[in-house]
């Protein structure tokens, strides 16, 4: 190294070099692991995306938890309990993955509670009837699976591994939801009406789960270049529609979209336009249940504080060891 060389230039050259090595790895499908060098933007994008995903899992426990005590049979109740427990587990896998990027779970929860981080808008819709629990399992988990299967190939190792575990567990969620829909559609007229009503209310919000159109999605192109995302919002949405329509047909339910039609030439279903005003209102506002969801979350956290502290005090007292940092 030469003395009079500007340090700035030197570090810029180094950073350029690291960036090229990083992109080269991405190009060769080599996974990025926690302590590897990565661009700041990549790290920030991942923290935002993984945390939002984790928050969605734990907030998602609320609309379903709302029905555990009112499940119509014991079988439905243990199924729903297991599903809600899974969602909590998924949140934990994802917080762990986010923590490998140099942020703590505490900080992430703090940002959620202060409204600086988001979770999926879908959980701000109310669950009005038991059929909503079936529709959520079938449609909301169905949409999540389409997205998550794609994310099993994401470029960040810990996120990809969390996705693989989550996908293994999610298919039970979707099937138990679909089983509820089958039971309802084979039931009384009232039950059929209830199932149709749930589909009517959950169909469009489920399509919105894939996010805005590719042309409107602010993070998409960079995320695709980094292979954080592997398929675009519109591709994934189309895939979800294509696999879900025949499932609705089997239930003899009508998807609330008069423009929905098989397009033989494209090999896909055509569908009507999404009400993006509602979408952006839900993204930028609290949604029908947003305030309630946050209040419940913060209360759970605050009311659990003494338990966490007591467990730690007990552990210190009985281990005779130093209090772990």
């Amino acid at each position: 190294m030469v003395d009079h060389e500007l340090p700035n230039t030197q570090s810029e050259v180094e950073s350029e070099e690291l960036n090229l090595q990083f992109q080269d790895k991405i190009g060769k499908e080599v996974k990025i692991e926690p302590k590897d060098w990565m661009p700041d933007g990549y790290r920030k994008t991942l923290i935002r995306q993984i945390a939002q995903h984790a928050h969605s899992e734990i907030i998602g426990m609320q609309p379903e938890g709302n029905w555990i005590t009112r499940a119509p049979t014991l079988e439905r109740k243990i199924g729903l309990l297991a599903k809600v427990q899974d969602e909590c587990g998924h949140g934990l896998y994802l917080y762990s993955a986010a923590e490998t990027l140099g942020i703590t779970r505490d900080e992430l929860l703090g940002r959620l509670h202060e409204g600086q981080m988001k979770y999926s808008n879908i959980f701000n819709y109310p669950t009005l009837t038991w059929a909503d629990i079936g529709a959520i399992g079938w449609l909301v988990d169905g949409a999540a699976i389409v997205n998550q299967i794609s994310l099993c190939r994401t470029s960040y190792g810990p996120y990809a591994r969390a996705m693989v575990r989550i996908c293994k567990e999610e298919s039970f969620h979707q099937r138990q939801g679909y089983a509820m829909m089958i039971a309802l559609t084979q039931g009384t007229t009232n039950q059929k009406t209830m199932a149709q009503d749930a589909l009517n209310r959950w169909w469009w919000p489920s399509l919105m789960m894939f996010g805005p159109h590719d042309s409107e999605s602010s993070h998409s192109s960079q995320s695709m270049a980094w292979k954080v995302k592997r398929q675009s919002n519109d591709e994934l949405r189309q895939r979800f529609i294509d696999i879900t329509v025949p499932q609705a047909d089997h239930l003899k339910l009508t998807i609330p979209d008069p423009k929905l039609k098989w397009n033989k030439a494209r090999g896909h279903y055509d569908f009507g336009s999404i009400d993006w005003d509602e979408f952006w209102a839900a993204v930028n506002g609290p949604g029908p249940c947003g305030e309630k969801r946050m209040k419940t979350r913060i209360n759970a956290h605050e009311n659990g504080r003494w338990v966490r502290e007591a467990a730690r005090a007990y552990a210190c007292k009985h281990s005779g060891r130093r209090p772990a940092a």
Partner: protein, 97 residues
Amino acid sequence: MQTEPSQWPLWEVFVRSKQGLAHQHIGSLYAADAPMALENARDLYTRRQEGVSIWVVPSGDITASSPEDQGPFFEPAHDKVYRHPTFYPVPDGVENL
């Protein structure tokens, strides 16, 4: 929002999925002490019979090689092709070698 002053320690979890296989790293979790870490690991990682044995290790007790040193650290193995069977020619017609 205040952060927890008394954060529980982080543990790494290793699970033996069945007899005959080695324990494999599966993830991490927070717990106040070792017995709680084991129970939490059971609830988090083996809800569907994914394991027959679990190890939990405080994350801070793990010493890891660093990625920056990846090249130099593993360099001694780079140029030793003679450690692989393919380095040695086998004449045509010679088998079971």
